[in-house]
Symmetry: D2
């Protein structure tokens, strides 16, 4: 059968990224507590395409991914990227893997155990060297310092989300980034809270009022202290309970020691 993709292209335009998006696949990832965790990923894979080739053989992306999906780690991610570079004969290979990740948490007073979901992702590119960005989305509770200060009683509070992206020089667990996000919110969230826990969380948040600006800065302080982190972006977004739009703060930092 004719190989249309391999035809010579005369438009003289190289393509930065060509590949597949939103491939859904069951994967197994590393878990700090339980060694491994089965989950479900949404995957994008791209390569660069030199100007003289017309097209890409798209089925190869899935073939490579299917071979490694049962054991995804930093090592196998690198193997995927190397295999992409070899198989596509390209200069740059990219993979983006996004998946729900669950931790078992204990309620603060009753100790009731429940699962919390965090959206995690890894974006890795291999050109001359590896570039790797980890990302977590952590749902949080936030209570408004202004509302607390000016009101005779109460203070508006709401669900929010912290998104941390980080480039690192050595291995970091998703659990570590999640902990940083939850510790610096007005309070963390739980799937199961008994009444004693609800009292505890309500009072804790009230004593720990934070703007999106405060949460972003406190997380930035923690990320600044971690020498493994070379670059980060932290975003905090509150689903304001008194508005139908969101409050937002973002801090981006390239540390001097990045090379």
């Amino acid at each position: 059968m004719k190989d249309v993709q391999s035809e010579k292209d005369h438009r003289n335009i190289p393509i930065n990224k060509v590949g597949i998006r939103n491939l859904r696949i069951p994967i197994v990832v590393r878990d700090q507590q339980n060694k491994t965790q089965p989950t479900i990923a949404d995957v994008n894979m791209y390569v660069n395409l030199p100007h003289h080739y017309r097209g890409t053989h798209m089925s190869r992306f899935g073939e490579i991914l299917h071979r490694y999906a049962h054991d995804l780690s930093l090592e196998t991610l690198l193997s995927i990227l190397e295999e992409m570079k070899n198989r596509f004969e390209c200069e740059e290979a990219h993979i983006e893997i996004r998946f729900p990740y669950f931790l078992v948490k204990s309620a603060p007073v009753s100790g009731a155990k429940s699962y919390m979901e965090y959206l995690c992702s890894v974006k890795a590119s291999l050109g001359e060297r590896l570039s790797l960005v980890m990302e977590v989305e952590v749902p949080i509770h936030s209570l408004c310092p202004c509302s607390k200060e000016i009101s005779s009683y109460g203070a508006h509070n709401q669900r929010g989300v912290v998104r941390i992206q980080a480039k690192t020089s050595s291995f970091v667990w998703f659990e570590e980034l999640i902990t940083i996000a939850e510790k610096n919110a007005s309070a963390p969230l739980f799937a199961i809270l008994k009444r004693s826990d609800e009292k505890y969380i309500t009072e804790k948040a009230y004593m720990n009022a934070k703007f999106v600006e405060d949460t972003a800065r406190d997380i930035a302080l923690a990320l600044n202290r971690d020498e493994r982190i070379l670059w980060y972006q932290v975003e905090v977004e509150n689903y304001e309970s008194i508005h139908n739009h969101n409050a937002y703060a973002a801090i981006i930092k390239e540390k001097d020691n990045e090379n």
Copy 2:
């Protein structure tokens, strides 16, 4: 050209609904304050298909809709359904129109004016007679009575949404259903609140703590009192600020006087 859709079908299976979904179109609807309001609709249109026809001529749905979109009202909605019945030679015609609807609201203390968005929809069917369901989705503020009661200070609160569906015997404005939803929440939402407003809303909500169950019941009481409403379903869903899942309550009522 051959008319494949009009071929005789021998499978002996009538189709309940056949048509188009997610047709996007600019429309103009009636507005209580300003007479008309331009907005953008997401439209579904269906007819029943008798067992002996193979297919439907889908382009006719859009043709009919495009003729009436610039002036949608109860009258033109009925005209659309009648034209569908005539043009498709069918027993039942259905249309579902969903659109954002904006009201200008004044903040409670400063009077600052801003737009609030409400998702509205109309589901109308014409068989032997007309069936019409109006629906509004109203974002609200809710504050938890249990958290308030058991905590030494503060109370968790959050954004929520009230969804009211209603069948009516005579004309009801979307504005009326929106008002019922907002009045029975812990507090309404606004796009612009100055500090004096924020204090007012924070304190009002604290003094007006409501479970999803409370809001649903209070709205049900208001809908029970309105004799134009023959049937309703009210749903209240809170995006709990201490959990990553939602609290929910639903009340469905068919009044005796419906005929």
Copy 3:
């Protein structure tokens, strides 16, 4: 601590459904090929609330679910509902569980194996007796018979989705409903297709042109023949490649033998 939820309510309005929505949790379900499959669920749980109680103890939903999530089956689903009825002292308990479900499929010519994702759900209610609805969403390929007939070459085709809901008298695998959907489309989908497979699928679909009406009717014929199925609704929706809206057909059937 005061139990606000258990306060007496004087509004005299019973609530049809009160509970939690969008609780996310890792679960294990039964798999026809591999006995079990780990996946991630989105769960709604409700009970009815008599008019004289003010509120529901929401944490109990999660507690019950967490105890059974590691082994969901028809048996444990019934246990969950019974435990809900006991724990909440209610007349009706409802659970809705929605999850991605993966099957390994072999490409039609090359035999290349890959995962396909299907969205599955179960909606179960226990009042005086059990009501259970299974649902699958199956992505398909559909090719338009009209376009094929009137055009000198080619025919527009597109991705679509088949949604089957079914009430059954005895056990049915999700795999069985998925197979019915895929067999009655113009062609099934695969995550990995080599060029020989692509040729096969392209030609198969061209020889197997189907309107949404055709696919819905052919699936209905298959569901009519299956005596375990007492009631069904089949919906077919094509993401038309020549329009930016979708074509849609729905057939609903209550069989006479349902009791």
Copy 4:
């Protein structure tokens, strides 16, 4: 009332962006054919926050926006950004406005008129000088050259989307970018097509087979020729009808003449 936001902050961390997201508001934009077009926007607005301020006065974003929403143009966009810089006493102001935009199109043979929706957005920042990126999302029809070549009859085709982002040196209409996207697809989409049109589009697409790579390159050629465009990113994504994932190509180009 105390102004908590204006408190001095000692963490020594400047915030890159602080503001509001997903504010929904009716707007009026410029329209090449009809001078103006009412639509509905989703708006993000941010400013930078120096390290010594604790917080931002979020209500000011909405106040500024509400004053200009009835007439959005390049001029008023600049006014918004200048007013943000003045009011917040900041170095950088950002606004992102995303809205559906409708064009009336005539079917290619019958001339039947219908509305097509395009998602448009503008991202503008004002620091020392103005940076402005326009973006359009254009739904298209694409037909696979490989499938056509290797199959005895037919060829798989599907809905896709072209996303063009462009920085320009002088005014460009959204209509111009939309035309470039539609002309370089296998075929454009329409909301209403009669049978003669469907035949025309089916045959046109079959004679005009294009990979995502082809469409991206042909659009890049057109954007290269337009001297007003200083930088662009074009993305093409096909909702593959034989897969449940998408094919994707992206070309990014910074022209030499950008200063």
